[in-house]
């Protein structure tokens, strides 16, 4: 009789959930999911119970009632009669504009400080070290308050600009620095300015096409334009400089000081153009494409774009439509503090990224005959960026979330409007906090998504 060995029965037994590797992980995950759901259910249930105990309901209709309070910095139409949701929107825009300018300046400050930190010049690198350590080790709130106090305590009051012999004067006859903020000229677009803007946009497109053509040319022939451009530039530098200086040179029918100033400006412009031409390269061509047609169009159309300078009336300088742009102290202090604070972190990230590129890379590039700036832009930077960008995302996110400290110096961001006054006046803490969290979450995820997309473009492509 032959013993038939049958394959072991695959019948499922309950212990197999934790003894059999095939089921174990799934089983544990289901358990974990159930625990998480339980915790969430408990939190929600507890909230509802406690809200009930306090006699409160959960209702978003307050968003459509008039807000009844005023906001100082509004980027869209808003009055105290506008509904709460509009006040929240004003706050969101204030948060976004602060985060936007802050991210740009912190990157610029960070890149400069990070590169200078690597400088071989001992003084420069130590100075940057002091800046970085000071800025990132002092709490941000203190830095914001410090800048706010510096602006409000040291700048002159608007009324100091009044009178026959005012105690304060405009900077460059154009900028009013007061203890309430800075008033800077606003460009006014009059009839015909559309043409200038149109020409400028066309220049931008032209620049893009020229860049495409230049790359295609180099790919096809293996030659850059630089040597030929330099040859042309050196030939034209001196005559062009003289021509520009002559063009802008003023007549002699004015006061001595005015002539002197204008003469200096004309000579400076001439020297500048000569220098641009003398060091003619693709950068100069790009600058020229961008600026020359727009400047010509500006003069041909009879200077249609003018500036509205700060004008003092009553208690304050005027701002708003057709008047100077008012940058409040709260905004300036936050912008500065956020940029310097986050810039210090960015500087360290940039330094780390550059140091992470092996020295052999730059030596190899030099051996191929590349110039130092080309080594930086073609060899070092593309590799460093891959290391810099991922941590850079968190710095942008940090900066954006740190804007919520704004109310400390009276900047009305979304935490100040929706999460501050609206919440306080309506007593809808839960609703306001949920909306606020949702807003910051959406903003953070958007920033992450945008920079991740950029990261996809620059990261090492493995084929």
């Amino acid at each position: 009789m032959t013993a038939v060995t049958e394959p072991p029965q695959q019948s499922f037994r309950i212990e197999m959930l934790w003894t059999d590797a095939r089921y174990r992980s799934g089983f544990l995950q289901v358990i974990a999911l159930m625990l998480v759901m339980l915790a969430v259910a408990w939190v929600v249930d507890n909230t509802i119970r406690n809200l009930e105990a306090l006699g409160k309901d959960f209702d978003f209709s307050f968003l459509f009632a008039p807000a009844s309070y005023d906001i100082n910095q509004v980027l869209i139409d808003y009055t105290s009669r506008s509904p709460h949701w509009r006040a929240a929107l004003v706050g969101m825009l204030n948060t976004l504009i602060l985060a936007f300018v802050g991210c740009i300046t912190c990157t610029i400050i960070g890149v400069i400080a990070g590169v200078l930190r690597l400088s071989k010049n001992w003084v420069v690198s130590r100075l940057m070290l002091v800046y970085i350590e000071a800025a990132r080790n002092v709490p941000l709130l203190l830095q914001i308050l410090l800048w706010g106090a510096i602006f409000s305590e040291t700048m002159p009051a608007p009324r100091d600009y009044r009178g026959e012999e005012p105690a304060a004067t405009l900077w460059f006859d154009a900028i009013a620095a007061t203890n309430r903020g800075f008033y800077i000229p606003r460009p006014l677009f009059e009839a015909g300015s559309g043409v200038v803007v149109g020409v400028f946009v066309a220049s931008l497109i032209g620049l893009f096409i020229w860049n495409r053509w230049r790359k295609a040319h180099q790919n096809a022939t293996g030659q850059t334009l630089t040597p030929r451009l330099e040859q042309i530039g050196k030939g034209f530098a001196v005559p062009a400089g003289l021509a520009v200086a002559w063009l802008f040179f003023p007549g002699f029918d004015q006061g001595t000081l005015a002539i002197a100033i204008k003469a200096v400006v004309a000579l400076g412009l001439g020297a500048g153009s000569a220098w641009l031409l003398y060091t003619f390269n693709t950068l100069s061509v790009r600058l020229a494409i961008l600026s020359v047609p727009a400047v010509l169009a500006f003069f041909v159309m009879g200077s249609p774009i003018t500036l509205a300078y700060p004008e003092l009336r009553g208690f304050n300088f005027l701002d708003g439509e057709g008047q100077a742009i008012y940058l409040r102290n709260s905004f300036m202090a936050l912008w500065l503090a956020l940029s310097l604070y986050t810039g210090a972190f960015v500087a360290e990230i940039v330094r780390g990224g550059i140091l992470a590129v092996s020295k052999g890379q730059s030596e190899a590039a030099a051996a191929l005959g590349l110039r130092p700036n080309l080594i930086m832009s073609l060899v070092i930077l593309p590799q460093a960026l891959r290391i810099i960008i991922p941590p850079q995302i968190s710095q942008f996110l940090n900066l954006t979330k740190n804007t919520s400290l704004a109310i400390a110096i009276g900047y009305m961001d979304v935490t100040g409007t929706l999460g501050g006054i609206t919440m306080n006046q309506t007593g809808r803490e839960m609703e306001c906090m949920l909306l606020l969290m949702a807003f910051y979450l959406v903003i953070s995820l958007t920033i992450s998504a945008v920079i991740n997309a950029y990261n996809e473009r620059v990261k090492l492509k493995e084929r």
Partner: protein, 335 residues
């Protein structure tokens, strides 16, 4: 089965958390001290002395309540709160009562879920400007920058006042009186607006008070008083009647010095009922029978408290005089 046990436990914890906030008076008695929310510092109303001891008109109310419950005016802890966080702190049960120049409004009373137990100071919103500005009326403030505490009724009154008068202004929001004072003195705002009492109190702390003027316009009604959570009538009654006891004490001529003596003697029946020499009013409130004696001994009657803290900062009795002297302070009968 395990699942339902877990769920049951969680539900029980949730219920216990809800039940814990049931009887504030019992909670306070069990704790042995009163937790009272006051402002972060406003001359006359609530401030700390050199020893860190809280003093002031609003603080005195807290002390009187503590004395009524425990017979000890020091059985109270203070939580300094900004105008922005005060209601959250009260709603969340961080404090038992709020005595922080808070304006009684319908929304706060009804929708926010609080009970205003009375008015300890009838006030109105005013404006203060530097005398050098040469402004004599609030109607001349078009285009001015105004320092304003966020989360207050003054913020809403201000918006209404400027809008209805067709004027514009630039609000400079601040969180505390100290911050407002710093901005105002630095000239970062032309005008500081808050309750007239607050203006007078703040002005009295300036180096040169005469260099600042309070404009004549009073643009709102601001009845300020202690606040408790809604739905706890027992506790609300304790705070309400302690406040009235102080007012009635002034009416009957009871002071911190003489109240114990009068209670021991043979007082007028009204006084006797209030001071517990007759009847059981204290018991009805859930307090010792000599609650009013202790409350008055804590800091004196309403008039004494006013004279001690508010007269020095330059405030007159005005609306806050007793009804017998043409004011609005009036206590219902103790019967």
């Amino acid at each position: 089965m395990k699942y339902s046990v877990l769920l049951g436990t969680l539900a029980a914890v949730g219920l216990a958390a809800g039940a814990a906030s049931a009887g504030t008076l019992d909670d306070v008695k069990a704790k042995g001290s009163l937790q009272c929310g006051v402002s972060t510092g406003l001359a006359g109303f609530s401030y700390t002395d050199a020893d860190g001891e809280w003093l002031g008109f609003d603080v005195a109310v807290c002390r009187a309540v503590a004395a009524a419950i425990f017979g000890d005016a020091s059985a109270v802890n203070f939580t300094p709160l900004s105008s922005k966080v005060r209601f959250t702190a009260l709603a969340a049960g961080e404090i038992d009562m709020l005595s922080r120049n808070t304006t009684w409004t319908l929304t706060r009373d009804v929708d926010l879920g609080f009970t205003f137990v009375g008015v300890n100071y009838y006030d109105g919103q005013g404006f203060m400007v530097p005398a050098s500005l040469g402004v004599s009326s609030a109607m001349e403030l078009d285009g001015a920058t105004v320092c304003i505490q966020t989360g207050t009724t003054t913020e809403l009154n201000l918006a209404d006042f400027f809008r209805t008068n067709g004027m514009s202004y630039e609000p400079l929001p601040v969180e505390t009186v100290a911050e407002a004072q710093q901005n105002y003195l630095a000239g970062a705002c032309d005008v500081y607006t808050t309750d007239a009492s607050g203006l007078a109190a703040t002005r009295s702390t300036f180096e040169d008070p005469s260099a600042h003027v309070v404009l004549p316009e009073i643009i709102s009604k601001e009845p300020l008083g202690p606040v408790v959570r809604e739905g706890d009538e027992v506790w609300g009654d304790v705070v309400r009647w302690t406040l009235y006891a102080l007012v009635a004490a002034e009416e009957y001529g009871l002071t911190a010095e003489n109240v114990a003596e009068i209670a021991a003697g043979e007082p007028d029946p009204n006084v006797a009922r209030m001071l517990g020499a007759e009847g059981n009013l204290g018991e009805m409130l859930g307090l010792p029978n000599d609650w009013a004696v202790k409350a008055i001994e804590a800091g004196g009657n309403y008039g004494e408290i006013f004279d001690e803290y508010l007269t020095p900062v330059g405030l007159q009795r005005g609306l806050n005089a007793l009804y017998t002297e043409g004011g609005l302070q009036y206590a219902p009968p103790f019967r």
